[in-house]
């Protein structure tokens, strides 16, 4: 199954950390959405400026370049928390109990390893664009109006850093689950039963329909 899953909570340290991080992730998610809205406003300002004021928005393309990472990366951990990144679950969906948690641990660990490497790589990418000695600390700038690019590049290792913490919490959750066995692990995305989710979804859609 692709997305929706739920995360169980209790009073343990793991669960408290999970919820604390989730609050941060949600804020990042909203910022990411607001950046989309900003893209739209940017285009309207650009068109209106040109047609009505003969004053096109200078550096329209440059600003888009700066806004895109906000949209693309800030929400990565938010999506991971709820199990939102897509996958095939033909094989893993057949497993139950400890076997399932071991399987989840392995792929989550591989993801963690990738993210750690990418924190290194994207930090280096940021590092090449940043120079304390240069004006605006910039060693890489946008084409039209020369905006420094380093803040946008810095966003990537930062977002990946939070993703790394999220993955560590999930790994911890899977270790606990492997120890305890059963089907009620804390702090990791679960595939809810179809009936539970259908009820939830129906409620969501009807609230939207007004």
């Amino acid at each position: 199954m692709a997305g929706s899953s739920a995360v169980l909570e209790d009073g343990s340290a793991l669960s408290r950390l999970d919820r604390a991080l989730y609050r941060v992730e949600k804020v990042f998610g909203v910022i990411s959405g607001l950046a989309v809205l900003m893209l739209m406003v940017l285009a309207v300002v650009s068109v209106a400026g040109r047609h009505f004021f003969n004053a096109p928005l200078p550096g329209y393309v440059d600003w888009i370049q700066i806004a895109m990472p906000l949209i693309a990366f800030l929400g990565i951990s938010y999506a991971q928390r709820d199990g939102g990144h897509i996958r095939m679950d033909i094989v893993i969906g057949k497993l139950k109990g400890r076997a399932l948690w071991v399987g989840e641990f392995i792929t989550t660990f591989a993801t963690f390893a990738l993210i750690v490497l990418l924190i290194w790589g994207s930090w280096a990418h940021f590092g090449r664009s940043f120079d304390f000695g240069a004006p605006n600390w910039s060693r890489d700038s946008t084409i039209d109006i020369g905006l420094p690019i380093w803040p946008a590049k810095l966003l990537v290792p930062v977002a990946f850093g939070i993703m790394g913490i999220r993955l560590l919490l999930q790994l911890w959750g899977y270790v606990v689950a492997i120890g305890k066995g059963g089907d009620k692990p804390i702090g990791v995305p679960l595939m809810k039963s179809a009936a539970e989710l259908a009820a939830e979804e129906a409620e969501h859609v009807s609230s939207l329909d007004r």
């Binding site: 068109v47 047609h51 990738l114």
Partner: protein, 465 residues
Amino acid sequence: MSSIEIGLWVSGGLLVLVVLGMRVAFAAGAAGVVGLIWIFWEKKDYAWDELGWALGVAVKTAGQVPHSKIASQELSLIPVFILIGYMAYYAGLTNALFDAAKKWLGWLPGGMAVSTVFATAGFSAVSGASVATSAVFARIAIPEMLKIGYDKRFAAGVVAAGGTLASLIPPSAILVIYAIIVEQDVGKLLLAGFIPGVFSAVVYGGIIVGLALAMPRLGPPVGGFGWGERIKSLIPAFPIFFVVLIIISFIYNPFGDPLGTPTEGGALGAALIFVMALVKGMKWAELKDALLETAKLATMIFTIIWGVLIYVRFLGFANLPRAFSDWIQGLEQSPMMTLVLILLAYAVLGMFMDAIGMLLLTLPVVYPAVMALNGGDLVSAADSTFGMSGPMCAIWFGILVVKMAEFCLITPPIGLNCFVVAGVRPELSVQDVFRGVTPFFIADALTIAGLVAFPGIVLWLPSLA
């Protein structure tokens, strides 16, 4: 070991990771990083003291990809058109469209499914992303179909397939991406997608009617709507025509010069629908909900894009694209046969790859080969192989390739639309959706055959502009 062999091994490894249930974006990213390490280490003849160097270069090369590929103007269309989808929902447009389609087409065998297809086609005129279209209609249309006893797999398949229309009917993010890769006129390409999109919808409708006649258990017709009711149902759907008008007049204005660039037209359409949703009384809580949903879906798509692109970067170093090109050009057969084979290759490749990733990977190689088959970039229609000028061939091939890429959105194992429908409708597994969408493979095959045999379907509209 040659770099092409490394490329094949790592691609096999990627498949294994995906099948084991690793999230697709990260499986692709991990395969890419491992592949890069392998390629760079191979360059140093696998000397142990060079492994650290290979790791560093590979990681830094991969680490560039997420930011550098995402920070682009072209891709900015994607979140804007996802947002437009959710906004259209709050502006009541999706429901209005679906309602109107139901009243006009519901009487047909499989009527609700036919209505869904034409409602997605209408919605495609404001949505540039197939995945978002499927997500929205999975919410609206599937519950209604289930309520009156439709087979759940069939209902899911209709929505997953219907969503693919959004990338042919303008505005379309993926057509913009094609235009950018091959450096062709964006406006004409967008325009060219219109008739094939409608054609595709008609073929889908035909397949549904045929299926419903053969197997009535799939879904009953819904009738009993009078003409008054039908006409009245058009009124709330009317704003969509206005938005279409705006977007089209930025692409092609029959009364004079276009008003701006396609990119701007799309964003302006989004803004208009946003205002409409506000007028309809959208509250901050709802806006926040829509923004969060947009962010989640956009993040999901972008994560796959950069994940796949890390893998694609590795393929670039492994030189797999060039090997592919040499192989295609070395074939001794008629150019039309080669073209058909290329399209088939896309179908196979697309089973395992994301559409955007696939186009990014292959077009730099395949496009010049196809243009060369036709007789070159600037060939006249009279001197050409396929009977069309260079620029027209670029448009024709673009529509064919995008239709193939859309086809891949519904084919297993990585059919994004099917994943999304399953994600939105938890009572459906991915396997259910894939099973339900199977009849539409036949529909798509028919559509593509039609577009290959009668290029006029694609080229008539852009030839006017």
